[in-house]
Symmetry: D2
Subunit: 394 residues, 4 copies
Amino acid sequence: MSGKKIGILTGGGDVPGLNVVIKNVVYRSTTDGHEVTGVRLGWKGLTDLNLDDPESRKRYILPLTRENTRTIDRSGGTFLHTSRTNPSKMKKLPSFLNPQNFPATQTTQNGQSVTTYDISKHVLCNLEKLEIDHLVAIGGDDTLSYAAVLDKLGFNVIGIPKTMDNDVRNTEYCIGFSTAISRAKDAIGRQRTTVGSHERVGIFRVFGRDAGYTALYTAYVTSIRCGIPEYEFDLEHMIDLLMTDKNNNPSNYCLVILSEGARWKGYTVKEYGEPDAFGHRKKFSVAEAFSDEVMQRTGAETVVSDLTYDLRSGGPDFIDTLVATTFGTMAYDAITSHKSGLMAAVYEGKFTMSQIPDPKLGPRRVDVEHMYNTDRYRPSYTSKEGLPLFLTHP
Amino acid sequence: MSGKKIGILTGGGDVPGLNVVIKNVVYRSTTDGHEVTGVRLGWKGLTDLNLDDPESRKRYILPLTRENTRTIDRSGGTFLHTSRTNPSKMKKLPSFLNPQNFPATQTTQNGQSVTTYDISKHVLCNLEKLEIDHLVAIGGDDTLSYAAVLDKLGFNVIGIPKTMDNDVRNTEYCIGFSTAISRAKDAIGRQRTTVGSHERVGIFRVFGRDAGYTALYTAYVTSIRCGIPEYEFDLEHMIDLLMTDKNNNPSNYCLVILSEGARWKGYTVKEYGEPDAFGHRKKFSVAEAFSDEVMQRTGAETVVSDLTYDLRSGGPDFIDTLVATTFGTMAYDAITSHKSGLMAAVYEGKFTMSQIPDPKLGPRRVDVEHMYNTDRYRPSYTSKEGLPLFLTHP
Amino acid sequence: MSGKKIGILTGGGDVPGLNVVIKNVVYRSTTDGHEVTGVRLGWKGLTDLNLDDPESRKRYILPLTRENTRTIDRSGGTFLHTSRTNPSKMKKLPSFLNPQNFPATQTTQNGQSVTTYDISKHVLCNLEKLEIDHLVAIGGDDTLSYAAVLDKLGFNVIGIPKTMDNDVRNTEYCIGFSTAISRAKDAIGRQRTTVGSHERVGIFRVFGRDAGYTALYTAYVTSIRCGIPEYEFDLEHMIDLLMTDKNNNPSNYCLVILSEGARWKGYTVKEYGEPDAFGHRKKFSVAEAFSDEVMQRTGAETVVSDLTYDLRSGGPDFIDTLVATTFGTMAYDAITSHKSGLMAAVYEGKFTMSQIPDPKLGPRRVDVEHMYNTDRYRPSYTSKEGLPLFLTHP
Amino acid sequence: MSGKKIGILTGGGDVPGLNVVIKNVVYRSTTDGHEVTGVRLGWKGLTDLNLDDPESRKRYILPLTRENTRTIDRSGGTFLHTSRTNPSKMKKLPSFLNPQNFPATQTTQNGQSVTTYDISKHVLCNLEKLEIDHLVAIGGDDTLSYAAVLDKLGFNVIGIPKTMDNDVRNTEYCIGFSTAISRAKDAIGRQRTTVGSHERVGIFRVFGRDAGYTALYTAYVTSIRCGIPEYEFDLEHMIDLLMTDKNNNPSNYCLVILSEGARWKGYTVKEYGEPDAFGHRKKFSVAEAFSDEVMQRTGAETVVSDLTYDLRSGGPDFIDTLVATTFGTMAYDAITSHKSGLMAAVYEGKFTMSQIPDPKLGPRRVDVEHMYNTDRYRPSYTSKEGLPLFLTHP
């Protein structure tokens, strides 16, 4: 088999490892005589692409070769750039498209009526004109959910999961997770020196609005307390645990890591500042709010450290490179085996092709009963026998 | 000469390299038959020390030996811990001291009358009872200013400057500065991947309320724009420069670094939230405020990344280890030469013992005329011949 | 259940992650009211231990507590130190033991007759006097093989596999492997700059006398050629592949990684220098020998870079910390479930307790058919579906 | 002033920071309307360049722009590649040149008569045809010595010193030195864990055939013993010091770093293996020879770790970026001020333009009296006041 044309795109937030997937798909494809077309800026590269406009073509389409992908695996981010566009839920169409040609849906968001368009027809038309036979879509829930739509519309598509939150369903591992924990582990390791020197309560915050994997696994490998979105903790008990840690520590400090979406009983997110154009005000981070509570209730000094963009920056670590390489090669093998609608995944510790998850199910979340110690507000350290390497089930 | 007893303490914010100084003073002292007494928690270890109370003694005094300092130079922070106490401006006295025994001063802070006490008498008494002949005080402006007080009171004291802002007067270099720039340079290098993948305006913020050295030198070695406290920039011009950078960049992103104290013409710091016990509300960071302006004026997406505690965390880099080692050994040589009131320093590119700076002069600040390009909002890259290695004069 | 006394030791070459295991066993044990005794220097701590001699006791026995293990997980190496002693094959007994009391075996090594003693009786006696009920032995093949001996003698023992070669049987993962690959990947990433600037053939060598996992996985994540002990390559073909890589590379360089035990058809290890006390001469490294061949046959410049002790140095990476934590807790759970003779392991992608491997089987080796591309002298990149996360079967 | 054409090349061994210089020269030049021509592969790019041959032109000449140098400063090595060619001492001429057209010199090397040619005439001819007005030559002694030749021949040339050995005369600092020490410091910091776990004598070897700066400064910032080419140590005394260190260390290990050119009284370099085409046999490294002596005399186990190519690999650290940026901008300022024959330098702690050093003087060497403690075989830690930041005089 040769002469296929394989498209590839990356959507949603970038993570280290995306370029490894891209390079592997390109190298395997060109070895076998197939062409690879890079679609730039995620789904936007297919929604906003006007093939009649050379500028648009240049912005959104990049033929990929061994030459232009040779060194990309050494850097993080995505060589193809990314966006958060979903072709079936477009609020605003590119100017060259007429809204009347596409099915519209009315929804209500924050009390306001919103019209969205499904321009899949245009996407399929672009794919056809580009002569792309198969598409590899790399992304998180959102990006993959549209891959599932395309599959239902009969287009050949294979998904690859990425997100530093590790919260895509039907897989135990998403590209970017290991590097995120590696970076968080290193940052906390370094910052112990300053938290300790000042004898403070160190409060770290990481991304994770719905799923606490990043906070939980960082806590597991740094032996500190954690708060996750899946479990509302008791504020007094958490502070008691921390102050006891601090007293027991000859260096008189303690550490806790909170997911962005962590909360305690009675906690309400505070907002501040003026509303922006969409009526949104800024939100207090949970780490700042928790810090206020600690200071107020104990008089202890705190230090709040946000571990955010750094966790998704730089090159991929060993595991992300290994998994991204393997996912890339599995996606390629699936394509050449005429499969569609599947996602490269890890299931029960093994590489497998699983179904692209149903977006209605929402993100995969931490199994509190088995993984989080609700008495000690830390990961569970018992009964790991039988669990897969990433200590979790999809 | 042998048989001296040398005290050593670290005050103010910690930086990597403090332990290197401590170890070097201990090793040189013990080689020559002197003893070294570690005073814990900065000046607080002399103000709150009650020698009649064994618990207090244990908390504040630690005899230093080759054994207990052998490995400390491998870690950042300060093995002796630190605080921000100033014995001549105590708002609250330890319970075992009677305020009536100490001179009091009334000042007005934020519209409220405040009484502070100068308990130098108690500090000197403790030093005498501890039989400390000479003291090495490592710290920033605040810590060193009290060293100058002690010197005037006739006590033998040698200062060593540290601060990641590099803003202590009478020296071109303070311990912690190089490591801070190293960390900031690495973080920005890593985060290019994510700012670029999303085609955003990346806004970094670093410590530096009064002096912009950290932002300026980071900009110098990463080739990005910067805003510093010493120069009020024009908001529109800065945004123009950045949007031009973005358009000229094939990866369609741009970067700027702002000191905590940077500002533009017309900028006022916004506050938010409820007042705390001292009547203080939280302040918007300048990076967030700048981000709001960029989004509002250009519609571009931004990403704000705070480089704060990480810059002072972890072990010292090569230069901080080299300078800390050298400052430690110079302090020791000054002590054994019966000098007092001096500070280890770098002046015109050379190691020297300078005067402990007069606190009234405030922090050392960037020489805008020679070091900052007020047209291009970046460091000046011309006419470096004749400047010392750190490109600045004290 | 409380009141047990658990012993723990580390044998063979150190790797990052050993201290993580030790700390976890100590923390879980003390939580449940058990004591932990650290045996220093591997099995030597039980063979050379003379309990009547306080100096010997001090050298070989260290009671472990939360206090003295609190920070050890932040460093690599082993806090308990290590040795390569095998109590059932002692060539030389400690002076306080009489050889006549122990069974002796005559073997022939390098043409010389050698007597070895099995002093298990003494080991068991020491364990009894120390009142150790269960022992956790962390090590590679050699260390674990004696754990199997102790199990057969009726002593309760649990093994934990470690080795940066990842070549212990009955497990897909040994502590230290991920960190070794992480370090090798980083080093090769850095050294590309210098190999490329000089347009050379870069030849890296890593440990691995019998098993090529370290070279193979490093090659997998850096996309370079490799030679492994399990497959004799053809010298001309390898050089052809490399020179083609070099010519195709716009930067005009190429890279290959060789296991210490790699070889080509017709290769014989050269020796040099004078024989040492044991009659051994130094051996040419395969990388140097290969470099000579490349230079001679092609005239190309080469650079040989040994990645040796650095791969096992420093702290453990995320995966090694995760696995070491989990192995430690599994070993503890096995002990409290009255199990013996088992080893913490990963099997088919899942954590499990397996049998301590039979030393007669020798090290686990790369499955050449499925993992090594014997045409391209690089890892196989196809058909990964169904394989466990570490891409291999035990 | 505009419209100049500036050439730039890098010669000798690469170090991190070269690309920073190149980028800065290009950016400043293009800002002012000058063109920059990159000469590839050092002086070879001018000796082997046949302007009549498009292939040769492509291989050796690369016009430099903001676009093609925008990201090069993020990587180590040299974007322009490098070689060790010296146009005034060519052993072999490119085939398109007739040896009879160039002055020849007969010398004797290793007992064999060698003819070398000075093809400066050809070099000048190429420079003229390329319309290059000024040349920036970045390199060590060898590369710079030919820059001095060109200057004497009336061509405008500015030198920039680089070498991780820091041994170029007339400057206290060469690009690459700080990064080399940073890497060595990190490697030794990491390897302490494995040397300690095995209770060994750790012997590190670094480049430095004639000058011991790299070993000495690494020793200064890691507090270990060192041997340098400038001082023949006493073998027994060194081993005594090390065994005393080991005994005094609670972890029972010790460390020493040796320059490649270090030696002890009575030491002779041993050779091994078969002679190569030039009659050269391989040389025992001094670290291996020292290791043999330690094992033989004390029975202690040793570990030899070569820190070689890694020290010059990867990106430049903060100081190398700062100095490379500054040297680049100084070279540019010198060119636009119509200067020639000068070298960017650091002298007495300040940036200056100094003379390109006279190659007859050989490399700059460590001032043993002030910098090396000949009793303790370690750096001198006393009397640093008055020394420049890099603790040395040119």
